[in-house]
Amino acid sequence: MSVVPALSGASGTAGVPGVSDAPAGLSGASGARGASGVPGASDGSGTSGEAGDMPAPLAARARLLPALAAVYRAQLSRARVARIPLLFVATFQSVGIMILMRGVVDGGSEARSVVAGSSVLVVAFVALNLLAQYFGQLRASGGLDHYATLPVPPAAVVLGAAAAYASFTVPGTAVTAVMGSALFQLPMAHLWILLAVIPLSGAALAGLGAALGLLAPRQELATLCGQLGMSAALLLGVLPAARMPQVVSYARDLLPSTYGVEALARAFDGQPDWWAICADLGVCAGVAVVSLAAATWAYRRAAVR
């Protein structure tokens, strides 16, 4: 018993108490190194002029495409780890909606827009909703600092993330479209149009999602905006347009996903109206450019506070 104080006293006198990881004697050694190794360090004066005259060369910037590819690759791997369950949710949701709507719509053009709307809904879920959440969280936690202190063009970060989220929707959208076609006995001959619909509506919705996530003053608001956007895509995209009141159909015209839905719905025709499809996809592309530009601007604004 009485040995305890004496023992701890002995260890105390050895120097710094309770230190297991400081190499012995280092505190003194580092001081000596500091004093001798850096001339004039201890007063800190007379050294400020040294740097002031000749600006040091700046390291190279990362170029747009390689940086975009690096962000894309990282985001896709990240999505694989964390988002696969959500992709299942999105797909099940869309398939479930189609099954429900089977009792409501009676084939023909309504069936086409239900299948098209449900397919594009998967894109909205991932690209709009999840991307808004991601950027909202990144901004709130200070994670944007990581990118802001790397010499990357803002567009590379935004486009890379948007592209990754959009490509991540491909399997779910394709599965939904195929199952819907089977369910409603629609021709699948022109389903290849998904190759244009997914990237274009994906880009438009991802840009919108990223902009919402980056502009929302708080993280919860970013999440809320993403959810609302997705609900809008659900209600305005899936429900047959002809049954909506006038005001709602204006809102429908404003939503970028609508044009992807229309293009896909037209492709279910036996003889699709290609001009109309091109026009719809053209609108999608236009909205994509605008929303991605807005997202890039929002990123710049969020990154340099």
Partner: protein, 333 residues
């Protein structure tokens, strides 16, 4: 190398919302002057909330100062904050951007975004993973790692791609001693081999004494001292710190013990009487006499533990007038 003059930053007051109380405005940088010399490991030491992160975020172009100048390697970073990314490597306190990547992809992607081509990025990735002993964790996502391991992976990302200046905000938080030494060695190697300058934020006194050439002590947004660790400790070299812990009521009827208690009660800030723990700062002879008293007679029977220590930077912090609760915020292990 890195010059800061008259830096002022005030965070505006926030109105209270439901659930969140209103916060007053905080002057997180209160007229800071600093000169960091090329090739040194310069430290910012201070307790939580001292303004260390706010200061380095202004040095890295992330935060715009209200007043003052920041020059890094001859570039005015207040006017051209975007140049910071091409001059320095920064390790922030948050890892969200990398959390879902594997350790190896986090390092590689960061290297690519620092402008390296694929081959160079992979080579740097492998080198830094080897250097920091991350080999076994390389294939695991950061999110699945322990706090210290994740921090180490973030350090790896900060170190890839050569930069003449490294700004590391509490790089070793949560790390075990092995990881911590790996970081210190990596920092030292870059300084020794490439003349890299390092600005290192810490609230760990041992880290400060072990790796820093010079240290600025921060308190409430002000630099209260700036010198080598040895130089700073010389300020309080004439005193040692004696800590007594009693297991039972100390025998105050012994006059020497009563005197010790009086001395402890009169002590500055963080010292003093806390429950059954007395902390005193004494000249060496007085400390020796005190130990003779408490290790003999009735005092010894009541004594649980004692420690005698030479001055640390923590003592410097207190001697310079840092807050008592601030000194407790400085970590000693």
């Amino acid at each position: 190398m890195c010059t800061v003059r008259g830096l002022v930053k005030t965070y505006p007051a926030a109105r209270g919302r439901r659930g969140a109380p209103a916060t007053p405005a905080v002057r997180a940088s209160d007229g800071i002057d600093l000169d960091v010399v090329r090739g040194e490991v310069f430290g910012l030491l201070g307790p939580n909330g001292a303004g260390k992160s706010t200061l380095v975020r202004q040095l890295t172009g992330l935060l715009r100062p209200d007043e003052g100048r920041v020059r890094v390697l001859g570039h005015d970073l207040v006017r051209h904050p975007e140049r910071a990314a091409r001059l320095l490597g920064y390790l922030g306190q948050d890892s969200t951007a990398l959390d879902e990547l594997t350790v190896s992809l986090a390092a590689e992607t960061t290297a690519r975004l620092r402008g390296l081509d694929t081959r160079a990025a992979r080579a740097e990735r492998d080198a830094v993973i080897e250097e920091l002993g991350l080999g076994e964790l390389a294939g695991r996502p950061l999110k699945k790692l322990s706090g210290g391991q994740r921090r180490l992976a973030c350090v790896a990302a900060a170190l890839v791609g050569e930069r003449p200046l490294l700004v590391l905000d509490e790089p070793t938080t949560g790390m075990d001693p092995v990881a911590r030494r790996a970081v210190w060695a990596a920092v030292d190697r870059r300084r020794a081999e490439r003349g890299v300058t390092v600005l290192l934020v810490t609230h760990n006194v041992i880290e400060a004494e072990t790796v820093l050439d010079r240290v600025a002590v921060l308190d409430r947004g002000r630099v209260i001292a700036c010198d080598t660790p040895t130089g700073l400790k010389a300020l309080v070299a004439d005193e040692v710190r004696l800590e007594l812990v009693w297991r039972a009521e100390p025998p105050l009827d012994v006059p020497e013990v009563a005197d010790l208690r009086k001395a402890a009660e009169a002590a500055r800030s963080a010292d003093g009487v806390t429950g059954r723990r007395w902390t005193l700062r004494l000249p060496p002879e007085a400390a020796r006499a005190a130990i003779a008293t408490v290790t003999g007679g009735p005092a010894f029977a009541a004594l649980d533990d004692f420690t005698l220590a030479t001055p640390s930077l923590e003592d410097v912090y207190i001697a310079l007038g840092g807050r008592a609760e601030g000194a407790e915020g400085l970590v000693k292990a």
